[in-house]
Symmetry: C2
Subunit: 254 residues, 2 copies
Amino acid sequence: MLNVVIIGSGNVAQHLISTFQNAANVTLVQAYARQEEKLLHLLPADKITNSFAGIKEADIYIISVTDDAIAGVSAQLPFENRLVVHTSGSVSLEQLDPKNRRGVFYPLQTFSKNKAVHFTTVPLCLESESESDYPLLEQLAKEVSHSVYSISSEQRKSLHVAAVFVSNFANHMYTLGNDICTENNIPFEILKPLIQETANKIESLPPLQAQTGPAVRNDRQTIAKHLDFLTDGNKKAIYTLLTQSIQNSNGQKL
Amino acid sequence: MLNVVIIGSGNVAQHLISTFQNAANVTLVQAYARQEEKLLHLLPADKITNSFAGIKEADIYIISVTDDAIAGVSAQLPFENRLVVHTSGSVSLEQLDPKNRRGVFYPLQTFSKNKAVHFTTVPLCLESESESDYPLLEQLAKEVSHSVYSISSEQRKSLHVAAVFVSNFANHMYTLGNDICTENNIPFEILKPLIQETANKIESLPPLQAQTGPAVRNDRQTIAKHLDFLTDGNKKAIYTLLTQSIQNSNGQKL
């Protein structure tokens, strides 16, 4: 049985609390929250503490707070030489206070407050400062996810940039498409099956091969018509830059 | 029973042929293909013709050929005053020869040769020159899809631009994410659940509200780190422009 303490009460912390409570071989010993009431819908009061001094003994401590707060929280922990990990994609392992054995337990997914996530499919990116701590971290990860990876701080940095492209920027493309629909009295609903199918395609094809549209066909007439249609300078600039980039990507590889 | 002739043998034409063959109240009378052998895996030889003169009588003729060929094909049809539609997102109704009653039957989806599509979920965007032809077109559409819309040529033009953003450009974001993974020895697999969840989110949230990441949080430190990480000028330019655009979108609405 693995004993775990979660430190934090935000989005990711709450998803982790629910997940560990339902895991077969994990005991969620306790959660720390500055405001205990934030976790009362998930845990009984005696499993929540708002004082660092009150934190109980466990095999693994998971700090899941905002990026800026990780270093400070880890420095305030009143114990040493225990396994302490954070859950951030963009903070290096070295930000954790070296008085404890350090590691990272980064779930690569976009979490929303009111939307359940099937944690078994969430990729967990693990790192431990000491090789001897890795098996324990891996054991915990495999209790809750089918998808566990060893990722160094350096790799995690690049992974986080890649995630911005495939998630934040892709979602912004949906926003711009939504804007165009709204401006032209078209229900955005019409585009949803296309969005789903575009995301589904990369399960069976590399994205470079899945590319369709006027840019990759070098259909200059359609590209010119579209640029003419886009009167908004920002959308025009994005259309131009991404059309060029699609043509570069495919030129390089063909 | 609706009698339909398909003119064309490409990707969309083949998906339509399969779909209409399985529809309860539709008879696929015939298909026209310049090279008949392209359709022999779908239809018996006596249902395929390669001569315009050999095209049989039907209620609706669907021209599904490349955009550039639509006008020419419609001019070569050896009959008049019948209902003739095309399937293109970016060609106006007026490109069809006016000797026939004109319309559009545009399936808004990305079709790949070797990937089946559940046609019942494909949005069909319909337009007819004469109001009296619309019910017939709608009847046909509803035989094969749950999602049928009346869309003018002007609206279709804007819809096509919106589709480029949400599909072609979103897919290119996947390509750039894939590149970053490859360059840093990370399996692209790790990002696939995130891609799926990002696409799934907009089923329950407008994309503007679903936006996450350093741009919308205005997390300048992370943005600076990411720009520093991106040595490739093209990716850097895209990162900068899209970060700015996300901040504009959210600034306008907040």
